[in-house]
Symmetry: D3
Subunit: 189 residues, 6 copies
Amino acid sequence: MADPLKGKKRGLFVGRFNPIHLGHVEAIKRILKEVDELIIVVGSAQHSHEIDHPFTAGERITMLRLALEEVGIDPSIYMIIPVPDVDAHTTWVSLVIAHTPRFDKVYSNEALTRRLFKEAGFPVESIPLYKREIYSATEVRRRMLEGEDWKELVPRSVAEYIESIDGVGRLKDLTKSDKPSQGSNPRIR
Amino acid sequence: MADPLKGKKRGLFVGRFNPIHLGHVEAIKRILKEVDELIIVVGSAQHSHEIDHPFTAGERITMLRLALEEVGIDPSIYMIIPVPDVDAHTTWVSLVIAHTPRFDKVYSNEALTRRLFKEAGFPVESIPLYKREIYSATEVRRRMLEGEDWKELVPRSVAEYIESIDGVGRLKDLTKSDKPSQGSNPRIR
Amino acid sequence: MADPLKGKKRGLFVGRFNPIHLGHVEAIKRILKEVDELIIVVGSAQHSHEIDHPFTAGERITMLRLALEEVGIDPSIYMIIPVPDVDAHTTWVSLVIAHTPRFDKVYSNEALTRRLFKEAGFPVESIPLYKREIYSATEVRRRMLEGEDWKELVPRSVAEYIESIDGVGRLKDLTKSDKPSQGSNPRIR
Amino acid sequence: MADPLKGKKRGLFVGRFNPIHLGHVEAIKRILKEVDELIIVVGSAQHSHEIDHPFTAGERITMLRLALEEVGIDPSIYMIIPVPDVDAHTTWVSLVIAHTPRFDKVYSNEALTRRLFKEAGFPVESIPLYKREIYSATEVRRRMLEGEDWKELVPRSVAEYIESIDGVGRLKDLTKSDKPSQGSNPRIR
Amino acid sequence: MADPLKGKKRGLFVGRFNPIHLGHVEAIKRILKEVDELIIVVGSAQHSHEIDHPFTAGERITMLRLALEEVGIDPSIYMIIPVPDVDAHTTWVSLVIAHTPRFDKVYSNEALTRRLFKEAGFPVESIPLYKREIYSATEVRRRMLEGEDWKELVPRSVAEYIESIDGVGRLKDLTKSDKPSQGSNPRIR
Amino acid sequence: MADPLKGKKRGLFVGRFNPIHLGHVEAIKRILKEVDELIIVVGSAQHSHEIDHPFTAGERITMLRLALEEVGIDPSIYMIIPVPDVDAHTTWVSLVIAHTPRFDKVYSNEALTRRLFKEAGFPVESIPLYKREIYSATEVRRRMLEGEDWKELVPRSVAEYIESIDGVGRLKDLTKSDKPSQGSNPRIR
């Protein structure tokens, strides 16, 4: 019986994409030169409406689809899969494995992600980063909050989408969290 | 078929009440001029014995009952309902809805609470705050820890109750958390 | 410092109230002859839209308020508090304790509830049941499903409320769960 | 500001796909005649290695991709998103919403799924079923266990994939669960 | 750098031990002939006060210690480690790994346990069972409930311990669960 | 019926042991002069691969066994039991009780642990600390990261074990967490 995937090489790329920016897009294009298919894991899937995680998993998936469509990447060669955070890092690796098709290699520059997958026996490779001091989600959110030009850091379709859902307004509201009031701050654990 | 609630207007007020203070009481009195019934949600219900959350949900419910009885608010026009925190803010809204009778309006000054309920389609209104620089739970806990007069900030019955459960002693113990010892610090996630 | 609760005797009564019926009302009236205040715990608070748990915690709280108002029980002498189920029975007892004001006695006819609170050191007492073969939530739901007269088993205001939220329609839908279809059956764990 | 999705109609189809069969494929083809894009939710995503849920979410995603590729459905018009079960049905709906791009309509024949999305305000439509007495995952698993021809019920590529991961062997092992032994039966809650 | 464990062979044996019986003891003795050290995992650790799981993890650990002491097994060559159940079987394996010292081989007769560890790459071996039709925890509990002689199936010290905690009384109470009453049945999910 | 534990006094000692050091060993030796048996709870059991919690519960159990064997403590007089953190501190106490054999006294210097067990009715005692400014897990990890001599703070067998699993390398990787990259930081809640 033939393994229908035999011969194909599949990579795994984990990010949180809050929001996706041009650095992500460059990294994905680069990885796709090395693998036949790419699984893009949207991490921290249960989080949203937090200063560091303003967008829902659904919104982040939407942005990824728009961004990759914009640069003409064939949707048959990638998959986007949300995976929630869990308490235990080692359990998180088993959760990624259970939620994804078989993969051969992990692409990551993040030290913890790299170590967890290495300890689990996967080959792990770094991705040369594209202008990383500006192409980062942290920088995008900072510019959003300070009224600077964040749109140049993200694909045009992503910028339009963020505006259509009032993403900047949401992020600004999240920073106004007004602790000493009677209003509640529904704390994330 | 008649809706037995028809014609009544119900408000929702979310707080953590660690502990309840006179600013909370003023806010509740003010909202009760606008609605027929008020649901008071005790948020972060699963937390206690933390520096910012010293009291259990049961203790906070007890304080709310005492405080509202002290100012003569009719217990037939309000309900107190504890709701735990969850990982996902959007899920938290659905949890509040599932735990409470139908409500028409949300009262809150907290930016995140306001946005979450607005995105879920509820009308949200601000509450004019009463001397908010001193009437805040943070200020009450600060005075407790520094030996200043915290009792003037809370209803008299609440002050008595807090003393009966050695609330100040508990709060002081929580600040003594002695990390480098052999003793454990049973961390909240 | 006086304990503001000293001298008052508080009882705890645990039920799921899916839905509340006249047997519950009789039991509550009877317990209120023995205690000064009663905490009514709405158990399995996170469950709803299941055949044995059709109503949300919020709907069950609404029914309890309506039922006790209908028989003229003073709302200052009882409290209704939802508590979720958890995996571990012994942990569940600690959760009830954390969510409720101090109580002195537990009223229950249910063997497990009785044993758990006894092992935790609480006095537990039985409640003489009123026509229990017909006044049971199981019987109410059975009659709802088979088109028999269920309204005579519940307070009039509760019957009206259940009709206003199409409770019988929901229950009937829950029994139509159509497993072999493509539709999902979002299983409760 | 233009909504980049404006004008497109997106459907939601929820299933568990244990495994995907030709009835699923027909339903998806039919829905795709009515909507521009389809979100396929893989429900009960955390479950696997159970008699009714033998496959992991990742395996089920793999099968869906293979099946839809086999019938030539353009991968740019559908998305596959795993969503875990949670305790509370109403919370589950909010979880689906948070994990998915905006959708306009829900397709389901399952009574509970239909009611939950209707109560949440979504239009819900039935899907005419194709030979449903045989095209069902339950029937596929029954044939697998009894050594009958299950391959005729699923797409050819799915049959090959299931064989490549020894899916039938796994299912058979799951039925041999040997309770009175010393071996553990790691119970799912 | 020397691995301090090098050269030692460690086995893993998973059970629920509700309660431990002589068949368990025989199996452990037999495995200890093949390995240098044995990790005994007490599964379903969060469960207790259920008909199939009457004992807490702490009680089951106590019984294991008593039983192994009774037959003179050196406590330096085994470890007892409780591990809770989780939703996902594959995650459960990663949880076992994270809670235990490194092990080389898994001993189990339970089909699911065997498959899960095999899929995770561990060697798995069966244990010849000793009079398994009577030496089973199910049989012990059945005899407890029906007033038959259960003590002959467990080590003497375990029988004494069970009596000291009124284990039979608890089990009988658990069977009296009196659903149609007002008392709650705090359901385990 | 005799309680098989009667007459024995059992202590409880809670720590996180990230990693175990000579101060822990001294404390355990001291407590064992006062009690017949000691339960050592490995707290925060689900955490690992974090800067403050680098080691898995299984690794910490391994270290405890090695350390106590090194100083010749009889394994029949202590037990090591992992207990996870939970959201609610009061629930955590009930979890410890459910996971452990009956104990008579709690040994801890940590203010929160002391208060929680006191409020639950247990006698709690302090442990005179041995050179605590250097014998602390925080100090061990600091030295590991800064290349100083950490081995003198831990038992020799523990130092060897940590080297065999590349514990220092793991800890260093955890500090390199490279947030603004595309790599994910699988956040612990």
